[in-house]
């Protein structure tokens, strides 16, 4: 390449731009390590602060002291907590999250089983939230002060204040018992039968998506209102662009940036499991797994799931930050 040529200058500029980006990424990934270490200590110690003895819970109705002592020894529950922690971390570093005390299944397998379920439910919920929340937000901003605006606000208020379990049960009554269109609960994997899978997850996804839609609607509305009053929108209108093109092409694009970040964070929360909704619809995801594990004092499962959830959440945060930087070049320096 000829030094001084346009192509060469372009490459140099790209390199200058990518370098800080790469070092930023490296810094953030390195930060993951101490964060996760801290999280692991927190999970471990908080859990051992819980009253109740896993060996006793495991023993169920039969409380034979010899059997209980045997369980304690088998799962190292009789060792000091730092030593138990050491064994756990040693396992995790080699990819072994331990084994469920209750059902003797490796925690890694349980996570691999539940993660796709929760991911499917979370993605469906977030799609529903975007499909409802953003159009409603735009309409209420554009038609500010009209019946449309009040209607959308009322919907948002309803979405935020409706408890998930109530909405869930009402949907079951309507669509499963009265109309008989959808199964009341349960789960079918996408790979097994995609139609049955969607039928089983559409109601819980709507319940979860509905609440987020309300939040998204409020944010879209205020972001749109702000953008619609800005100079460049006025200029676009003055240039004689159609209202449709002003709103969708010019205003919405700018208003969307914070909303996408919000969406990513909400997705992170969804991926950590929707406890109540999963319980009502008997969806075997992370939420149900962790609730059962906590009540049964199934330490290895709680630790494994929380660690994975924390990692997912931190990673999504990182991705949101990167997306933000990609969209907004001023943050790159």
């Amino acid at each position: 390449m000829d030094p001084g040529s346009a192509a060469h200058l372009y490459t140099l500029r790209r390199a200058r731009e990518t370098k800080p980006m790469l070092s930023f990424l490296a810094r953030r990934v390195l930060q993951l390590v101490p964060t996760l270490f801290f999280v692991s200590i927190l999970i471990f110690s908080l859990q051992h602060l819980l009253p109740g003895d896993p060996a006793l819970v495991m023993a169920g109705e039969e409380h034979d002291p010899a059997v209980i002592a045997q369980i304690r020894q088998q799962y190292r529950l009789d060792r000091p907590i730092p030593i138990q922690y050491f064994y756990w971390v040693k396992g995790v570093l080699s990819g072994d999250f331990g084994e469920s005390l209750r059902i003797k299944v490796p925690v890694r397998e349980l996570i691999a089983q539940k993660l796709p379920v929760t991911m499917q439910l979370a993605s469906m919920a977030i799609v529903i939230a975007f499909l409802i929340g953003i159009p409603a937000g735009i309409v209420s901003a554009v038609k500010k002060g009209t019946a449309w605006d009040y209607g959308a606000n009322l919907f948002a208020l309803w979405g935020i204040s409706t408890p998930n379990f109530w909405l869930g049960i009402m949907l079951i009554f309507l669509f499963s018992i009265e109309l008989g269109w959808l199964p009341a609960s349960g789960y079918v994997p996408l790979s097994e039968n995609w139609r049955a899978s969607l039928a089983a997850t559409i109601m819980p996804a709507f319940v979860l998506g509905n609440a987020i839609a309300a939040i998204l609607m409020r944010h879209t509305r205020s972001a749109m209102l702000q953008v619609l009053e800005s100079d460049y929108v006025r200029t676009a209108r003055a240039k004689g662009l159609s209202e449709r093109s002003v709103i969708l092409k010019h205003a919405l694009r700018n208003a969307l940036t914070p909303i996408i970040t919000l969406g990513a964070l909400e997705l992170g929360t969804l991926l950590s499991g929707a406890v109540l909704t999963e319980q009502i619809f008997s969806i075997p995801g992370f939420g149900k797994l962790i609730v059962d594990a906590v009540f049964n004092r199934d330490y290895a499962v709680v630790q494994g799931v929380v660690l994975v959830t924390a990692t997912i959440y931190i990673t999504l945060n990182l991705i949101a930050d990167i997306a933000y930087i990609l969209v907004n070049p001023r943050l790159r320096a």
């Binding site: 349980l110 009341a184 559409i202 008997s282």
Partner: protein, 503 residues
């Protein structure tokens, strides 16, 4: 126009989804919890026993009247000194992997229950010294001492036979792919989602098995369980709420099957381990006063719509071992107050009342609280998560503990471990020489008449000193569709699949 088109597309999509769901021809059973491991040696939950009933046959079973009937065994005979029990096995029985169930295999299963690390069957078979193989279809159980509840133990998990080949190959992971000799064989399990079983073609009783597949689905919420039954997503559900009985009875497509449970619900009163040394632990009169303040029929009406069975012993009034000489005493507040006065207590007497979390428990606790208040007790309800409550009960950090027991067929299973001095679940830390003797003697004698006389002494001691205030026995509530025919509810709450048909 556009909205109309969208609505039509959405409706079409919903309908097309729905058609994909309804092709099931299997028996689908809704469980209230997800069971623990499906290994009869290591399992310990009540709900797990419901699943075992479909795929893991036992040496003996029970009938509706609690009589012991043969299953994998044909007969049993106890020697005169009570220390040897000879069991004849049913010929031609196969495990689901094709292995034969012979005397060697039966010995293997019993030995596994006793020797496997972490076995919960070990205490149940503690009296067993060793098993001898007499001939290919006969085993002899040699006991350390006579133990009359033995055959009753063999009607439950301790009597379940596992394939030696599979058990040896899988070790403590056997429960992930269990192989037994029951009517259905294990296909798959997705934790907290479903357990699938299909008909075992070589089962010894295959002519009475008419349904091809059985699927168990754990659905924790009782309302959702019922919703699934109504919408056709399930064929049978266990643990229906008493408040939903009306709803089920009003629905022509549903049927209710009930039985009084083998277990009991009661208040354990801390006697020997009460750190505060309160009047309740120190004086039997105060405990009597608490008992007399409670109207058991009122609990039955208020909380259970009259569907439970008030009781005052570790077995229900319908049980053959119930001591009719000691009927449920009617409520007597005046006498309760007088007893408190005699014991030198000035009301109100504050009592720490630990109640495991749960809507039904809490409702009963509130009724008890208000009734006891009239006699001068200030019952301070402390709702505690179950695992925590167990730990605190062991440590003696309570004065009254609302505890239930799912129950065993033999009266020994409902009394010994709770009432014997220093027994593992004697949370009351009660110790009474006469009761101890009765509990020990009850294990030595097989004759029902003699045993009943022995337990009468125990009943007297318990009702005098009140380590446990037995309140009521729940009605097991099972609802199923009318498409399911031949269903009979057994008092152990388990679902037996033999003889069932699904239209």
């Amino acid at each position: 126009m556009k909205i109309l088109r969208l609505t039509m597309i959405a409706a079409a999509l919903l309908l097309s989804l729905a058609t994909g769901v309804q092709a099931q021809t299997t028996l689908r059973i809704g469980l209230a919890e997800d069971p623990d491991i499906l290994d009869p040696t290591l399992a310990r939950t009540y709900v797990g026993r419901i699943v075992f009933a479909a795929f893991c046959d036992k040496l003996f079973d029970i009938d509706e009247k609690l009589n012991i009937v043969p299953q994998l065994a044909l007969s049993h005979e106890t020697s005169a000194d009570g220390k040897e029990v000879t069991i004849k096995l049913r010929p031609g029985v196969k495990f689901q992997d094709g292995e034969p169930l012979d005397a060697e295999a039966a010995k293997f299963s019993l030995d596994r229950h006793v020797t496997m690390p972490g076995s919960f069957r070990k205490p149940e078979l503690a009296a067993l010294d060793h098993v001898d193989v007499v001939d290919p279809l006969t085993i002899k159980l040699v006991l350390k001492a006579p133990y009359s509840p033995l055959i009753a133990q063999l009607t439950d998990r301790a009597g379940m036979m596992v394939s030696p080949k599979a058990a040896k190959a899988e070790g403590d992971k056997f429960g992930l792919h269990p192989v037994c000799a029951g009517p259905y064989k294990f296909v798959e399990r997705v934790q907290q989602d479903r357990m699938v079983f299909e008909k075992f073609a070589d089962h010894w009783n295959k002519d009475n098995i008419h349904i091809d597949r059985v699927v168990f689905l754990p659905i924790v919420d009782a309302t959702v369980r019922l919703a699934n039954l109504k919408s056709g997503g399930l064929d049978l559900i266990e643990r229906l709420l008493a408040t939903d009985i009306k709803d089920v009875k009003a629905d022509a497509r549903l049927k209710l099957s009930t039985a009084i449970e083998l277990g009991y619900q009661g208040l354990t009163l801390n006697i020997g381990n009460d750190k505060a040394k309160g009047p309740l632990s120190q004086s039997a009169k105060v405990r009597q006063a608490l008992d007399l303040s409670i109207d058991r029929e009122a609990i039955n009406q208020v909380v259970f719509n009259g569907e439970s069975k008030p009781g005052n012993q570790w077995i229900s009034p319908d049980h053959p071992y119930y001591q009719k000489a000691f009927p449920v005493r009617p409520r007597d507040v005046a006498k309760a107050r007088a007893l408190l006065k005699e014991a030198g207590v000035t009301p109100p007497l504050s009592v720490d009342f630990m109640v495991p979390k749960g809507a039904e428990n809490e409702a009963v606790a509130q009724v008890v609280q208000s009734m006891a208040a009239e006699a001068g007790f200030d019952m301070k309800i402390r709702v505690t998560e179950f695992a925590t409550s167990l730990k605190q009960a062991e440590a003696g950090e309570y004065q009254v503990y609302f505890l239930n027991w799912s129950g065993r067929i033999d009266p020994d299973g409902n009394s010994f471990i709770f009432l014997k001095t220093a027994a593992p679940q004697n949370y009351s830390a009660w110790s009474n020489a006469e009761a101890d003797k009765a509990l020990d003697d009850g294990r030595l004698i097989a004759d029902q008449g003699q045993r009943k006389a022995i337990y009468e002494k125990l009943a007297k001691a318990v009702l005098d000193e009140e380590p446990i205030l037995y309140l009521y026995h729940r009605r097991l509530l099972i609802a199923h569709t009318t498409k399911l025919e031949g269903y009979k509810q057994m008092p152990d709450g388990l679902v037996r699949v033999t003889g069932l048909t699904l239209k």
